[in-house]
């Protein structure tokens, strides 16, 4: 396959970026998108050009590192996959592919396609945990009976890898799907009840402080989420938030 790649290049966080065009030949349809980027970078280095910086780690869809906005969609045109699981067979010989970083004010570009997603870490630190005594007397979580339906929903919410595709794809750059998944995974379990009020209040407050946009329920986040996190979680978080406000 021969491809034309239009890629966002930006020297550093303060530099002005722009889309640059590169030609790449000999791309196998069996390559993953990141392997194709590796081949491009080999070619660029041979030409004495700075390789394209992009985030990647596990390359098996579980770490949430890769973060490209490909042809107008987070993680590209495939569904329920991250960029590392996207294969070049999804494209055709002669295609032009636009590759941009995830765009959101709370996700500033560090270099090229690498963005700073520590805003998500700060939201997690605000309440996305259960406080337990880890001195050796911690109760076995499996000793607490949990209804299967609730356990399943909690696990579904917990599959969120925090990649930020929801923010990148939402026309409002809203982080509601991510935050709601992190709130839901505890809201559905007995272990999460003690800190439920503080958790939702603090996490939503931190989300707003980071400057993410508002949810207008377009549902784009659910469609583009590589883990299929459901909009039900946003409704659940809204309920938790309303309830927390009533309780004070």
């Amino acid at each position: 396959m021969k491809l034309t790649l239009k890629i966002w290049r930006q020297e550093n966080a303060n530099a002005k970026g722009s889309m640059q065009t590169y030609s790449l030949d000999g791309v196998s349809p069996d390559m993953s998108f990141l392997e194709m980027m590796d081949v491009l970078n080999e070619q660029l280095m041979e030409q004495g050009i700075d390789p394209v910086a992009f985030d990647h780690d596990c390359r098996e869809g579980i770490c949430g590192s890769c973060s490209m906005f490909i042809n107008g969609e987070a993680h590209g045109p495939d569904r329920l996959v991250t960029t590392c699981q996207l294969h070049m067979r999804k494209f055709k010989d002669g295609d032009t592919i636009h590759i941009e970083p995830f765009r959101a004010k709370p996700f500033p570009v560090i270099k090229d396609l690498v963005v700073d997603r520590t805003a998500f870490d700060r939201i997690q630190h605000a309440g996305g945990f259960v406080s337990v005594n880890t001195s050796g007397n911690t109760q076995d979580a499996n000793a607490i009976p949990i209804e299967k339906a609730d356990a399943d929903k909690a696990f579904d919410a917990a599959t969120c890898i925090g990649c930020g595709a929801c923010v990148a794809t939402c026309k409002n750059a809203s982080a509601m799907l991510f935050v709601s998944a992190k709130v839901s995974q505890y809201a559905l379990l007995p272990q999460g009840q003690v800190e439920a009020t503080d958790r939702v209040m603090n996490m939503v407050s931190q989300m707003d402080e980071e400057g993410f946009g508002n949810c207008t329920n377009t549902g784009a986040c659910e469609v583009e989420c590589p883990k299929g996190i459901s909009l039900e979680n946003i409704a659940r978080m809204n309920r938790e938030y309303l309830s927390a406000n009533v309780k004070g």
């Binding site: 969609e73 409002n172 329920n217 039900e232 946003i234 809204n238 309920r239």
Partner: protein, 205 residues
Amino acid sequence: MALSGLFLMVFLLQHFAINITSVFSETIFNQFSHFMGTNALVQFVLQPILIFGVIFHFVMGFVLDIQNRRARGTRYAVYKGNANASWVSRNMLISGGTVLAFLVLHFYDFWVPEMNYKYIEFLPEDPNRYYEELVHKFEDLTRVILYVISFFFLALHLSHGFSSAFQSMGLNNKYTVALKSIGKVYAIGIPAGFAFIAIFHFLNH
């Protein structure tokens, strides 16, 4: 937004329920209109709440849109919005803005003359004037066309707004599918009904 939207949808239903009587009975329409136009609770409590609700809804709409545009920062070179969300859900500002422009015309047509009649010129009460006033307005083809276009945009706005309001209020469960169906019926039925009333009176004048 969700609360004010739900409130406005209840109002719209009530407004339609009264207006549709004009198609069947001049007397009933006049009775309802006279009650609504002279009842102190409606005039001095519910009407100000309604006006506040309308203003709150569109001001919040604009404020949220500004916040959302700021949250994006740099725009994408390529953004395929139609790949994952409907046009209606992504363009509530366009459908809502059209409805807002319609409201200006609608207030100019009915609300301003009504306020002038009752509270500026202090004209004598006439329980039988409402039907004639309504029919007279819809003698004008341009107005009927503008109203029908506005009702089309209202239908678009409601088709997303109805279910979106419930989702924002935290309601997404086994009843959501049924609720979405009710929303579609409401979003098409109410604006289509209003358009029917306007066309009916135009054709029968």
